[in-house]
């Protein structure tokens, strides 16, 4: 059992120390993941700080962050390991005289000729690492199976070498934007954490921490406007990072109080679809708002 964190409350504080404002759910699950030695599957809308969570945890634990960015067509050779063919070929040519094949074959399938890719690297590292498997929903269903062995047993099997077991148990984060349903097998091996848009108080705190020179009053207004916008049915709701961008813009423009005009002029930072912008502006200008 690893004990990176002493308890949930102190973990929350440590995270806040590196400017990541978590809540009970987030800190609780990270704490459990450490205790149970299980990976965390983080799901939620884009731009709610899923990747940032992994980065922040690596920062507070002082561990190296190893990142595997997933994409369609990712395969074993790019995720796990690959034999260095060119080097193997050179080795064979260099020793072509006299030596028995058995010796060479034993030789060319050794560590020296193995190119480690992120997953294997995380397993074989001596120092503590945080492994981040980003946007795991982008790989095909079949490729997911690649991850299963490493997620449940923290080991990688290489036919020519045998099984490589982890020297230390890395803290693993998988993120997903939920564009497709992940397989049951993968979910079963992970702790599940859903990160949603923060509530008003937390969003305000985030704005205050991340945007220098912002007044508390303005941060409060920003959080309120964003909350109102998120209640409208839109194609894409403003993410936390967009909220931060908007807050920074308002600070740069020297705005002290958000009125309708400022909102209209800068709303394109929060919303990226023209239809959304039109709808939000129309909606915000009516005092009644949407019926609850």
């Amino acid at each position: 059992m690893s004990n990176r964190f002493s308890d949930v409350a102190s973990l929350k504080e440590e995270l806040a120390g590196v400017d990541y404002l978590s809540d009970d759910g987030i800190a609780g699950v990270v704490y459990l993941a450490d205790r149970l030695e299980k990976p965390i599957l983080v799901e939620g809308p884009a731009g709610t700080g899923k990747t940032q969570l992994a980065k922040s945890v690596s920062e507070i634990t002082g561990a190296r962050l190893i990142r595997l960015q997933c994409y369609e067509g990712l395969d074993e050779a790019k995720a796990l390991y690959e034999w260095n063919y060119k080097k193997q070929l050179l080795r064979i040519q260099a020793e072509s005289s006299g030596e028995e094949w058995d010796d060479i074959s034993e030789d060319i399938f050794s560590d020296e000729f193995l190119l480690t890719r992120p997953l294997l690297e995380a397993i074989s590292a001596d120092e503590p690492v945080v492994l981040l498997i980003d946007e795991v929903d982008r790989v095909e269903l079949e490729t997911e199976a690649l991850l299963l062995e490493i997620l449940s047993d923290y080991q990688v099997s290489i036919p020519e070498l045998g099984t490589i077991e982890a020297k230390q148990i890395p803290l693993v984060f998988l993120t997903s934007n939920n564009t497709r349903e992940l397989s049951e097998a993968l979910k079963r091996r992970c702790l599940y954490l859903h990160v949603d848009y923060p509530d008003l108080e937390r969003e305000k705190e985030i704005v205050l921490t991340k945007v220098p020179d912002i007044t508390e009053n303005l941060a409060d207004q920003v959080a309120r406007v964003v909350r109102s916008i998120r209640q409208i049915e839109l194609k894409k709701h403003p993410s936390v990072s967009e909220t931060l961008d908007w807050a920074k813009t308002l600070v740069l423009l020297g705005v002290e109080k958000i009125d309708e005009q400022t909102a209209t002029q800068t709303i394109n930072i929060l919303l990226k679809y023209q239809s959304d912008i039109n709808k939000a502006l129309k909606d915000l200008a009516t005092a009644d708002g949407v019926s609850p």
Binding site: I40, T179, R180, Q221, Q231, K235, T286, G289
Partner: protein
């Protein structure tokens, strides 16, 4: 795995490991409840949960809840169901939630903010029992004004006690009590009063924009008050009737089991969000078939080229890539009154599908038929498109009662020629034909020309071919007829299709 069996199994596992704590018994009971609510909890997840609770302080309700959620709930749509079961099951456990001391004190107010009318409440030592209705209303108003969570909880408890009229053993559901409580509190009136108060304080009249923000703020406070009231009612009901009975009454279908025809507005909204991943899945499945499908014919030129590296021996035959399969989809949907709710949903589905496939054509009918493909093109707001379909499409021929026969005839005359061997046709409707002619030969003819014809019926299987439903007559010419009443069944259809 049936519930009773699996529960027995889990218990044996716990025994074998030599742990018989009361907390594990408790957890087992909880998991049985989760399973009967329909959540898929596997054995490993069960074990994980047992391991997890060892590491969290049991006194901390919130952390305990998150620990269970992280190990047992792997799907965001299931969170609500989990939360309900959790709140019911653990409602009477934990100190602050015990029901024994019935007169929960309303928190004392700060003296400096205290107004004259409030002092009477103070004198009663915060018992709150002797407050007049006006005083309670005033208290409610103040708690909302300040957004004081603690005070709101107190008000909620007091209000439920006073207004809900709960009596032990009364066979009514929680909604009835909720309605009674809310009616007495008149929250809409309170909201207006809060807003007026705000305006008076501001002096000059605020713009619509500011008013809007204010309203949202108060609305969210009122929502949280309402949640407190619901929790309080639930707590009392559980105390009265016991955990099992309550868990059963409060059980709601999981999002994937919600019937399209009877979905409420919120359920509809969550269904819409769920469709998108489903169409991705559909597209991904079809694409995969394209990529990993049967190899094409031998490619002579590339085989010879590859043979050079084996000294001219064609040791490695090369094949042409198979021709990419570009599916064409025709969706023909009934939008008459009998399936209106389902029709709205299918239009959303059509919209979502058209984003994933290059060629999707949509037709709607009642007793006439019209093509609506263009209404979905380049539209960013699906609700607008659906609205246009419902108002602009020319689908009424005589009287606006479903006539499948005539609608199919129109389709066949106008668009029949455009059906090709790559076309998949999906017909959505209940086949309630009002005793008109069926014209099922058209389906047969379609089936001969097209790649596949599927019929999706939003009615339960047992209603098929009763009354004026003639789905059986059409079904004999289709590749498949499916009952599609909820997301789970729709997903089943997608799997079948791909």
């Amino acid at each position: 795995m049936s519930v009773t069996e699996s529960a027995g199994f889990d218990e044996t596992v716990a025994m074998q490991e030599g742990i018989g704590d009361p907390i594990l018994d408790l957890l087992n009971g909880f998991i049985v409840q989760l399973r009967s609510a329909g959540l898929p909890v596997s054995l490993t997840e069960n074990l994980d949960a047992m391991e997890a609770v060892k590491h969290v302080p049991l006194g901390d309700r919130q952390t305990f809840k998150y620990a269970l959620a992280a190990t047992l709930v792997k799907h965001h749509n299931h969170w609500k169901a989990f939360e309900t079961v959790f709140e019911v099951y653990f409602s009477l456990r934990g100190d602050e939630f015990s029901i024994g001391d019935d007169t929960l004190e309303l928190p004392e107010m700060d003296d400096d903010e205290q107004q004259g009318e409030q002092t009477s409440g103070d004198q009663q030592g915060g018992g709150g029992d002797n407050l007049s209705p006006e005083e309670l209303a005033e208290m409610l108003y103040r708690s909302l004004m300040r957004g004081d969570q603690q005070m709101m909880r107190g008000v909620a408890r007091q209000a439920v006690k006073r207004y809900a009229g709960m009596e032990p053993g009364r066979p009514v559901g929680g909604t009835y009590y909720l309605y009674r409580t809310l009616r007495n509190l008149d929250l809409d009136g309170v909201l207006e009063r809060l807003l007026e108060q705000e305006q008076n304080e501001e002096g000059d009249a605020p713009s619509d924009f500011e008013q809007r923000l204010q309203r949202d703020e108060y609305q969210s406070r009122i929502d949280s008050l309402q949640q407190e009231i619901e929790a309080e009612i639930r707590r009392r009901l559980v105390a009265d009737r016991g955990v099992e009975a309550m868990a059963k009454t409060l059980r709601k279908p999981l999002p994937e089991d919600v019937d399209f025809m009877h979905a409420s507005r919120e359920e509809m909204a969550s269904l819409r969000k769920a469709i998108y991943p489903l169409t991705r899945k559909l597209a991904a499945r079809l694409q995969r078939k394209r990529r990993h499908g049967r190899k094409g014919p031998l490619d002579f030129r590339r085989t010879v080229r590859a043979s050079l590296s084996y000294g001219g021996v064609p040791a490695e035959p090369k094949f042409r890539n198979p021709r990419p399969h570009k599916p064409e989809i025709f969706v023909i949907a009934d939008i008459s009154g009998s399936v209106a709710a389902f029709a709205r949903f299918t239009l959303h589905l059509v919209y979502a599908i058209s984003g994933q496939f290059s060629k999707v054509r949509a037709f709607v009918f009642i007793d006439g038929l019209d093509e609506v493909t263009h209404m979905f093109e380049g539209v960013e707001d699906i609700n607008e498109a659906v609205h246009r379909v419902n108002t602009e499409a020319d689908v009424v021929w005589v009287d606006g009662h479903s006539d499948y026969g005539h609608a199919l005839q129109v389709f066949w005359e106008k668009y029949g020629k455009e059906i090709g061997p790559r076309t998949s046709i999906m017909i959505l409707g209940d086949a309630r034909n009002n005793y008109h002619a069926s014209e099922s030969w058209i389906i047969k003819a379609m089936h001969e020309k097209a790649r596949a014809v599927h019929w999706l019926n939003p009615e339960p299987n047992s209603y098929w071919d009763t009354g004026d439903s003639i789905v059986g007559e059409y079904a004999q010419h289709c590749d498949g007829t499916f009952e599609v009443r909820n997301l789970r069944q729709l997903e089943g259809f997608v799997e079948h299709l791909a």
